[in-house]
Symmetry: D2
Subunit: 392 residues, 4 copies
């Protein structure tokens, strides 16, 4: 088992892990059938940061917040500096800038892959705007998810669309500063239902490879075909030096966007094991959440998600590497599997609670949040105005 | 091959096939990411019927229109009679009444399966209202799709929800008139992402069996797990006397709601073969469309869908039953498969065009629709007001 | 959390749980590509029982052994009585009799569903033989898995095959004694690749319902479409009084037949939760393993599997029912989910070890098995003869 | 529609298409449950070529035969030259050499990825032997499918296995002659059930990219996750210059290895469309079959498969490129889709029959084969000896 000194190392590693929460998870979201609005939902990016600050206050592990443009667009000169300052005052930093090229009417048939050059230009201009915002906020990461694709065979030329994609990405890549990255996300399907232009890690990888070292792949844990071994992809991308970030969430069926760790906690553990195995914990791999809390209270759901990532990481850190390597070398299938399962079966909640307490935090972030009265306060104060949501 | 007299029989069978189009397919729809509005979309149920009349005018095969309550609610006394008359004047009949227990804020955690008895009562009252409307319109079918389910393990008790479902269904069943049916739809997932309360045909079948002969199962071709053999389910339900209706559409991934026949035309043919084999063509099985034309023009997409069902039916009717039975009896796998493939590989478009011409229709409904100028006319006339859509 | 008295109840419940191991898991198995033989594998049913006795000796939880006919056929009069006595002397009882209608050349196109009546007769005769063996061994359960199906559309008539299936089952059902059951297994696919004659729980349920109370459904955890919510099926079958048995194993992709609990331990926990919720633990639901240990040592793999079921059961028993019901009633999604996750995240290995020690067993069955020297002994002694395997 | 001159071009293109049949498809095969032997099955590589010659004789489109080592190993000096001459005398050429590193006992835990260097060496030596055979037979393609993978999390280190794979591939790559290629196949799962070492096109692509221009990817149409858009992968690999070959077959569920075109003929058409669109028809992309005719007669099944590929190709060639491009440019989703569907719905069997007749062949290869009496002759003559099969 794990010795005392190992436990210290595990705790130290846990303390280094930062999880980025997405501004949009604090707003209303739903399915195509219905958005169920919740009381107290933020009405602007500043209020989203206020909520994110609560998540960080109680977990100590969520110091950055991803923005989504235009949902978090701040008008006026100095707007983003003001937003960054608002974050800083709450112990937060602004994280990745997420582009949106899917909610404008022009994007019905795609954005950077659209058959019409004018629409492609508009999309690239939006991506330039995102880089401008990065310059203003100090964000290092431009996260690109394209809803581009087709619904019917023949609707558009699959190959031409790849050419257009490559061209658009190249233009944006050139615009990146020296310390900025482009994070390219892939997705199996939705909203396109026949072909998606970046459907799998292979496609994202091939594009990033040609673009250069500042282009890296995002693994969204909900964006794969049924049965896909995600940790294999994680291991492979780390081996290739091309894993840029995670979008964490859970799925049972499609891109369900449930709380990470809720559907298959064993998978999350296996993913974190490969992250650690591949050196991803001590690297610039970004651990982001990308979730939709359609029916559950949003802030505690995000707190729970952060905790779930921490617990999976703690378990993965507890894997006895020496015993594992020995069993693997010996070809002892059961013994090797048992080493991994031993770590997984360990209840790490006390350990993670200790890490919190040693940092001056309450051991139970959910209880602390509920005790704080924040939920009631925002429900009371945030009345009037337009509640934030995907389309708002 | 098929003899001259057989061709007559095929044509006769084709002439009997009626396909019900859904009022909501004429309105705007989309994904959770975006609804792309289209010009000329109807603003009320009457205009939806006007569009549906065009589909029937050019195909001769779409004489009934399914309504969705409350989207097609008509206010005022005599409203539904007026709607029925509007339909009748255009050669149409009002078809199945589709209930909606998923777009009210109260339904966040379910409707007839909700933990709160008051919400369940509200849902059942809505279903009663739907039966009232059936009484007013003369509709024979109450089509029930419940979005009920849970997103997280433990969220609610799976078994209690079944008990509540059974109770709610029983109350509505009792309310049905002698010539009215309850059609119960199942769906693999969405909008619930952990457990759906009627997830598969087995669950729908078990409930219908207990309710009685007026309860039957709806097969929506987009509501199955990947790889599911849908024609097997069709054959089984017909054998059990429990197939009530189809909701036709296409899917590559999930409930994509594309045009029927667009993703896997061979599957549609196999389904229609089992329909015919099981006597479903000459029975009261209802052939309904349930589609979302998110990016393609809606009326011609519906016309194309009707044509696709007709062509699949024609091919299925062309299967040489005697040759097939002989090969099956002989255990000649290749010969039996070849009989089926021979029918499938036949180009039946000339045959179906002949059927149209013999009924005084243009052989090419799409061309005829485009020539009619209807699309331009509605785009010009239907301005102002609220365009119909899922949420409208 | 769980009180002291609750822990006693949990322990008591765990002590009642008996897991049936399958004789064939002790023999060689493999994929269609290769069977990798292992040293010391049994050469006959008696040696299989010797191995099964070791599993029971160290777990105290595997007192019955399922047989597979003809793999475990014992020639000569009194043969099965001798086998039963061999079992009894080792503290075991003979469990379900599993039929095999898939490895004879006559079954190329099916068994009870075959187009040729002579083959169907042969299959039914084999099932009668299985009931005869039940009479001889005192086994209560006839477990039926049919490999029947078709590989190509049109190969055979789907509906006729259902009629033949119903007829064959009815004949066997009539032959059952008063205290005997028929357990009907369904499987999504394999070895048939187009249509399987009992592909899902709905089909098995519909047949069992018509047969009568002695016919019940078997849930093999590897026999579902990707994404299927198995615990929902468990809950539903229990609610209907039609859950007869489990065939436990794990899958990542298809019917992988890995050790139960190895691929998705959270799913196994959820299944066991529904078993307990539905009264299945204190009923005659049989908990069987059905696994293939292709590359790992067989006996310790089976021991590990028994332990995995026990641990999942222990966690499920720890769910705080009152807290859960309260959260569900309140519609508190996160709180309800947290109650379930709290139990799942508990490390129950010490608790299960205590149960063992209180029964006079070693707390670690795997260590005890390795210390026993049994693996070396059988490798040395079981030389010559034909090692048991699927085809042997 | 298609003009007279276009039809000539379609015919000319069809005449250039060569489909490679696999020697192993002529031998017995089965599932893990049972191999059903067929009469007249070849007993050695020479007899397999005799059967392959019949396929080519009646289709005129199957001039090359892939070998599988060691199944087609010919002992003695000059053995392979003799085999090549046997082929030549029958109008055939020997095609790709397929390696086998999965049926030796040493390969239980892998071959080129095995934790033990001695096993890896043995595997690489086998690959060297395959290249030696290529030198002897004049084969240009070394086709590599590795069954390597793991069944349980932790069983081996995923990343180390990639390193070993890269090293083994590099050694073999160096050994290739100037006009020889390495074709790397990927497979989603089976026989490994947790992680497969080359599970997807991305992994195969990444390795081939590093190896160099002589390494290309094989797309086996049965080796993908449910729902995967295979034609997208085909388009992408062609765009990258990395599509080396197809292994054609059909699947409903997993790697079912049914006749190509039997499960989803529309998908096969879409794949062939992308092949043509990407210039793959006039390139060195190899069109191979890789199928298992477990229950149907083997030679006619292979003939049917060749015909199915031809028909799909003919339909794809009939797509009206100009009309399609115009509709795509206009963003007319329905019109673009209709162009593609128009070609697919065409009955091309008369056209392909004409191509045969113009080449002096019978228009119906299946009828011609049956009339030839070959099946009866081999059933009568090939008695005694060991029938060829996967393990023989």
């Amino acid at each position: 088992m794990t010795s005392r000194s190992d436990v210290s190392a595990v705790k130290a590693a846990l303390r280094t892990q930062a999880i980025e929460t997405p501004s949009w998870a604090y707003g209303n979201s739903g399915t195509r059938f219905k958005v169920f609005a919740q009381p107290g939902v933020p009405r602007n990016p500043f209020e989203k940061l206020d909520d994110a600050a609560k998540v960080h206050e109680f977990t100590g592990a969520a110091p950055t917040v991803a923005l989504h443009i235009p949902w978090d667009r701040v008008e006026g000169s100095g707007g983003y500096a003001k937003l960054a300052k608002h974050a800083e005052e709450r112990g937060l930093t602004l994280g990745a800038i997420n582009s949106n090229t899917f909610q404008d009417n022009d994007y019905k048939l795609g954005s950077v892959c659209h058959p019409d050059a004018a629409v492609r230009r508009k999309a690239v201009d939006h991506l330039f705007e995102c880089v401008d915002i990065m310059d203003a906020t100090g964000s290092k990461d431009l996260k690109l998810w394209f809803a581009d694709g087709t619904n019917y065979p023949g609707q558009d030329d699959l190959r031409d669309r790849q050419d257009r994609l490559a061209e658009g990405l190249a233009r944006v890549y050139e615009r990146l500063g020296d310390d900025q990255r482009m994070l390219l996300e892939y997705k199996f399907f939705e909203p396109a239902f026949y072909a998606t232009d970046v459907p799998d890690w292979g496609t994202a990888y091939a594009h990033c490879l040609k673009l250069g070292p500042k282009a890296q792949v995002v693994v969204d844990t909900g964006h794969h075909a049924p049965g896909t071994n995600i940790e294999f992809i994680v291991a492979t991308l780390l081996r290739e030096g091309k894993l840029g970030a995670f979008d964490f969430n859970s799925r049972f069926y499609a891109d369900d966007d449930l709380m990470v760790g809720a559907a298959d906690p064993f998978q999350l553990f296996r993913i974190m094991y490969e992250v650690i195995r591949g050196g991803g914990l001590a690297s610039d791999v970004a651990f982001m959440l990308d979730q939709c809390h359609n029916i559950e209270a949003k802030i505690p759901a995000i707190i729970r998600s952060v905790m779930n990532v921490q617990e999976a990481t703690a378990k993965a850190l507890l894997v006895d590497g020496e015993a594992l390597a020995a069993a693997q070398r010996a070809g002892d299938v059961l013994a090797a599997n048992a080493v991994v399962m031993d770590a997984y079966n360990t209840d790490v909640r006390p350990l993670v609670a200790e890490v919190r307490e040693e940092s001056g935090l309450h051991p139970d972030p959910i209880a602390a949040y509920h005790a704080s009265g924040w939920a009631g306060r925002i429900a009371a104060e945030r009345v009037g105005g337009e509640q934030a949501g995907w389309g708002a």
